[in-house]
């Protein structure tokens, strides 16, 4: 195990292991950062950008996804600066517009004082956070589902479609990860 390093988070020195991400370091120091696509058992993905934090170095400032940025000695991290709050609000507004009925997204929005969205609300069934796909691959090693298509047509699907019958019937673990709440109910499996 490498020696611990010290970085500052919101002005307080925090000691962390260099194998930790900024997100982990912040959370273990009791600093809350909202996340959507992050999962403790999965590799960093950086898909939702909800976990953005600001890194400052002299006059330079940079927004990075804290779930995929590793702790370094001397980092100056800000998790509640105006720039971060603006970016976070924007991400939440987009999510809210995509999935206005998702309880998890509404909770996240509420916690971050986002009540309205300037974008047109639509009904999406998936925000492409990839939690289910990555869980199926990285944790279960079953690879029943995957992303197909590109751009606005990108979607999560069973590949091949009959994988659903063969393997998923006894698992369904990915369903509880879905932030939209749609994936499970969509297939009438929520109560199984």
């Amino acid at each position: 195990m490498a020696d611990n390093i010290t970085l500052t988070i919101d002005g307080h020195p925090v000691s962390a292991d260099p194998s930790q991400t900024v997100l982990d370091a912040a959370r273990s120091a009791g600093v809350a950062i909202p996340t959507l696509c992050h999962h403790k058992d999965l590799l960093p993905y950086g898909g939702c950008r909800l976990c953005l934090v600001e890194l400052r170095q002299g006059k330079r400032s940079q927004l990075v996804a804290s779930c995929g940025y590793y702790a370094k000695a001397g980092l100056e991290v800000h998790t509640r600066s105006p720039r971060v709050l603006r970016a976070r609000k924007l991400v939440l507004e987009v999510l809210l517009a995509l999935m206005p009925y998702s309880e998890e997204i509404r909770r996240l929005a509420h916690e971050n004082e986002v009540t309205e969205t300037r974008y047109q609300r639509t009904m999406h069934y998936c925000v492409l956070c990839g939690l289910c796909v990555r869980y199926c691959d990285e944790v279960k090693h079953t690879n029943c589902i995957g992303f197909v298509g590109r751009g606005v047509e990108r979607n999560v699907a069973w590949v091949p479609p009959d994988r659903y019958d063969q393997t998923c019937r006894t698992c369904f673990e990915c369903m509880s990860l879905c932030p939209t709440g749609v994936f499970p109910s969509n297939f009438g499996l929520a109560e199984v």
Partner: protein
């Protein structure tokens, strides 16, 4: 029913393609491109074989195959006809050209003729706007062919 399977890369041929790249999983895209080039499309059977040979999960093979426009998961004809719908060609009348071709072939965009000779696609700019409206058959470019030209040109393809 057109017989499609006989034209497909046999699994041996796919094996040979994979061996050319030393069976490396990082060669996935190259392997798919080579199969696409020979078959003009990627059949499910081919994708399954690639997945098992390269030891890449099938969904990840599909993820790549459905991401790039260079790949087709639908059966394609022996020749690819692309009509440019880019801005320059559009203002120079490509919609009318497209209708002519489509009528002649009896198929719409993205479709393949029953005899398996041609597939009809649209693209957005082929980089030769001065020829617009442009139509390409495989690698040959034609500038605004009339209905009569089309008949003559198409008859040259098997």
């Amino acid at each position: 029913m057109p017989e499609a399977t006989e034209e497909l890369c046999s699994l041996d041929r796919i094996d040979r393609i994979i061996d050319r790249y030393g069976g490396q999983r990082s060669a996935l895209i190259q392997v798919l491109l080579d199969i696409q080039k020979e078959d003009k499309w990627l059949a499910e059977e081919s994708l399954r074989h690639v997945a098992s040979r390269l030891n890449v999960p099938l969904p990840q093979v599909y993820q790549v195959a459905t991401f790039y426009k260079a790949f087709s998961l639908a059966r394609r004809g022996r020749h690819l006809i692309t009509v440019c719908m880019g801005t320059a060609c559009h203002v120079r009348g490509s919609p009318r050209l497209f209708d002519r071709v489509s009528q002649k072939l009896g198929v719409g965009p993205g479709k393949t003729t029953h005899d398996g000779r041609f597939s009809l696609l649209t693209v957005n700019c082929m980089g030769c706007c001065a020829l617009g409206p442009v139509l390409a058959i495989d690698e040959d470019y034609h500038s605004n062919p009339s209905a009569a030209d089309l008949g003559r040109i198409l008859s040259q393809y098997e």
